[in-house]
């Protein structure tokens, strides 16, 4: 059940009524989290519960066996990774691979299976557990309920953040009670998360969807810049909104999830962008793909190659399509150029230079978003051609851009500018900030009800 549904609100209400009664005993707590999470997950399609349980069993026993049979620990690790990636490949990439093999002249029947929601997230979380046990970063848990509560915990199950075992397993082993400030913080995060999702992302998403649904690309450069800007805000608010709600729910339970988005659009370099965007995934790729690749041979060339492979894989993780691979490839290329030329450092020296750095980062990220969002490679190329050709300035058929969307857009942009100018820090230090904060939360809550856009699923559910 998606967070932005009435049924989820009922589910969450029931969960938090029962939670104080069960949180004291380890087994009660874990089993309650598991049952609630399976109901939450099975609401989409009950058959996928078996897949989630299978993933849990494979990774739980892989962790145990690695500890027990040290001689074969590498084989066990490889087998478990094979199991996780194999399942992911079967459900997510089989159609993509067969289509591409057929394009090379083979004649294989194309089989596309229904993509189990959240599979990319929980299979990566499962792998991180086994790898960390292998590297002795964490001790494996002997209790399946403990492990499965960590893997399936509903706030992060569908769209992350991808939480490392060292971050959550110890927390789950304790009977935690959220303090009053934690409860308020959790409530605030949930309200802001819903605001980002249903007010900003859903309102702008409609305009973006209509633009990309058209068979013919609109021949207007300003139109596409506006649409890609809307998409950039939409995907950020959609995903960051989900992460905020997930973190807020965890806080209400007394747990701490890591920050997943830290205002990525105020970045002054691509390196900074990737340290602020989908942090749990980028650090996952950094620790489990980039570092192992780099450690094989520490040379500047290998660093570029490793970064390229990591970002290409990150692109493929987002979707089984060439547009996603190119999105990753573009980021890899931009990143390498940045490392070679060190342009952010040169621009950092002056105030205008710092603003220019952010504008350059946004420009590059926007260009890459075109591939990320486009329905096909052809569409992405034709949109880019229009965007980068300033002589084409046709009409902007933005018929659904209403005053309400303008208000929403203003709020989204203004809050990011406040962060960019570090005004949020000044506001937080004001004497009566707590009153201001209450007013913000109450207004955001009102906006969630009255300025909400048409219901759309979270963008990152498809991954």
């Amino acid at each position: 059940m998606p967070f932005n549904s009435l049924i989820f609100l009922l589910f969450a209400a029931l969960f938090f009524i029962v939670w104080p009664l069960v949180r004291h005993g380890n087994h009660f707590r874990w089993i309650f989290i598991i049952v609630a999470s399976l109901v939450f997950y099975g609401w989409w399609d009950w058959r996928f519960i078996f897949l989630l349980t299978g993933c849990g069993l494979v990774n739980f026993y892989a962790g145990l066996f690695i500890q027990k049979f040290q001689r074969y620990k590498k084989t066990i690790l490889i087998l478990s990774i094979f199991g996780n990636l194999g399942t992911l490949a079967l459900f997510k990439y089989l159609g993509f691979f067969t289509r591409n093999l057929n394009a090379l002249g083979l004649d294989i029947p194309i089989i596309t299976l229904a993509l189990p929601i959240g599979i990319s997230f929980y299979s990566f979380q499962g792998m991180s557990y086994v790898i960390d046990v292998y590297k002795r970063v964490v001790e494996p848990t002997n209790n399946f309920f403990h492990f499965f509560a960590y893997l399936s915990m509903f706030p992060h199950l569908i769209a992350g953040p991808i939480i490392r075992p060292s971050q959550l397993l110890p927390q789950l082993a304790e009977a935690r009670k959220a303090t009053d400030p934690e409860l308020w913080e959790g409530f605030k995060l949930i309200v802001y998360g819903y605001f980002k999702k249903v007010v900003v992302a859903d309102n702008l998403g409609l305009l973006v969807n209509v633009a990309f649904m058209q068979k013919e690309t609109v021949e207007s450069s300003p139109y596409w810049w506006v649409i890609i800007t809307f998409f950039a805000i939409q995907i950020y608010c959609d995903f960051a909104g989900y992460s905020d709600i997930a973190r807020g729910l965890a806080k209400l339970m007394g747990y701490e999830f890591p920050v997943n988005f830290n205002h990525p659009y105020v970045s002054r370099s691509l390196q900074e962008f990737w340290s602020r965007w989908h942090i749990s995934l980028s650090t996952w790729f950094r620790d489990y793909v980039f570092f192992p690749l780099l450690q094989r041979r520490v040379t500047p060339l290998n660093a570029h190659i490793s970064m390229g492979i990591t970002l290409l894989l990150s692109g493929l993780w987002h979707g089984a399509g060439w547009t996603f691979v190119i999105w990753g490839g573009l980021h890899a290329a931009f990143f390498s150029i940045e490392q070679l030329t060190r342009w952010p450092k040169k621009l950092k020296k002056s105030g205008i230079g710092r603003i220019l750095s952010t504008i350059i980062v946004l420009f590059l990220v926007w260009i890459a978003w075109v591939f990320f969002r486009a329905e096909s490679l052809e569409q992405a190329v034709s949109i880019l051609k229009v965007m980068l050709n300033p002589t084409l300035t046709g009409s902007c058929p933005m018929r659904r851009f209403t005053i309400i969307k303008a208000i929403v857009l203003f709020l989204a942009v203004a809050s990011e500018i406040a962060v960019f100018l570090k005004m949020n820090e000044k506001i937080k230090n004001m004497k009566y900030y707590w009153i201001l904060e209450i007013i913000f939360v109450a207004f955001a809550l009102t906006a969630v009800f009255y300025l909400r856009g048409k219901v759309q699923t979270f963008v990152y559910f498809q991954f």
């Binding site: 009435l6 058929p397 005053i403 707590w434």
Partner: protein
């Protein structure tokens, strides 16, 4: 501290809720129930002898009660949905609502150009209802949460327009259990929808694939013994002209293909038809149109039912 924070937040929130509900233009009490009634439609299975399908024009323009007064032996349902775009899923839904055995049951397809535009698919709310109908508990929640919808109905541009610019404008919307949503607007404005529809047709034309879905199902249904009829749901003369010129809706060709698939095209009398906003039928006009449609249907249906 937490208590104080939550109480203050709740107070400000409810103040905003009250202000918005007092400020926003009044709607009939039943308007908010429309969502609940659309949700209820999704639970209709094995229920009707005669159904009329289509988008919001069917929803507002066809009164099953009026049709039943002419065809008393036929339990009739209005399957219209707001912003519907024809799809196989919708066709399956139509078929599902017919009472078994389906032989001699009746389906009337309401053709309107907007329901055949593929670029309108993202706007099609029918998907939302399909998703919700998959889980009975969700359906029950929707059906019983009309008051919540009323209280928290989102602010629309229409609301703002009516409140600040067109202060004498009022909608009346009444949902009936048969699926019909009777409506009217004060004051009427026959030109109100023209620009909106012009924009739809600038952005896209009639999608042949969507028409094929209708033809294919018509063929299959007639093979099963279901009587399938087609009508062009009426609208104002101004909009009718715009649709003919801009949408690519070639009625003659569509009619030919529809009839070739086994359907029967009807042309009920629409001389008295009034669209309050240029697109949708005023409730009294809908009653007259429905009777006229039923009279046309009667010519082809078995009187002895």
């Amino acid at each position: 501290m937490l208590k104080r924070q939550l109480i203050l937040t709740a107070l400000i929130f409810w103040f905003c809720v009250l202000t918005i509900n007092l400020m926003r233009p009044p709607v009939s009490d039943n308007a908010a129930l429309t969502d609940a009634s659309l949700s209820e439609k999704m639970s209709w299975k094995n229920r009707f002898d005669l159904v009329v399908a289509g988008d919001s024009r069917t929803l507002t323009g066809v009164s099953p009660q009026a049709m039943q007064s002419v065809l008393p032996g036929y339990k009739t349902g209005n399957l219209g949905f707001v912003a519907l775009v024809y799809s196989q899923e919708y066709m399956d839904y139509i078929r599902m609502t017919l009472r078994s055995p389906v032989k001699n049951r009746v389906i009337v397809i309401g053709f309107s150009p907007r329901s055949l535009l593929s670029h309108e698919k993202p706007e099609c709310l029918f998907r939302k209802w399909i998703n919700e109908a998959r889980i009975p508990l969700k359906m029950e929640l929707n059906r019983h949460s009309g008051w919540l919808h009323a209280l928290f109905r989102e602010l629309s541009v229409g609301d703002l327009n009516i409140r600040f610019f067109e202060t004498d404008r009022r909608y009346l919307i009444i949902s009936f259990k048969s699926g019909w949503v009777a409506s009217r607007l004060f004051p009427e404005n026959a030109k109100a929808s023209r620009n909106e529809y012009r924009n739809y047709f600038i952005k896209g034309k009639i999608d042949g694939e969507l028409l094929e879905v209708i033809y294919r199902n018509t063929k299959a249904w007639t093979r099963e013994g279901i009587k399938v009829f087609g009508i062009r749901i009426p609208t104002s003369p101004g909009l009718f002209t715009i649709e003919n010129k801009m949408s690519g809706f070639h009625e003659h060709r569509i009619r030919q293909r529809f009839e070739k698939s086994g359907g029967i095209w009807l042309n009920p009398d629409i001389s008295y038809f009034i669209a309050y906003d240029g697109s949708h039928a005023r409730y009294d006009s809908a009653v007259s149109y429905s009777k006229s449609l039923a009279q046309e249907l009667r010519k082809f249906l078995d009187e002895k039912r």
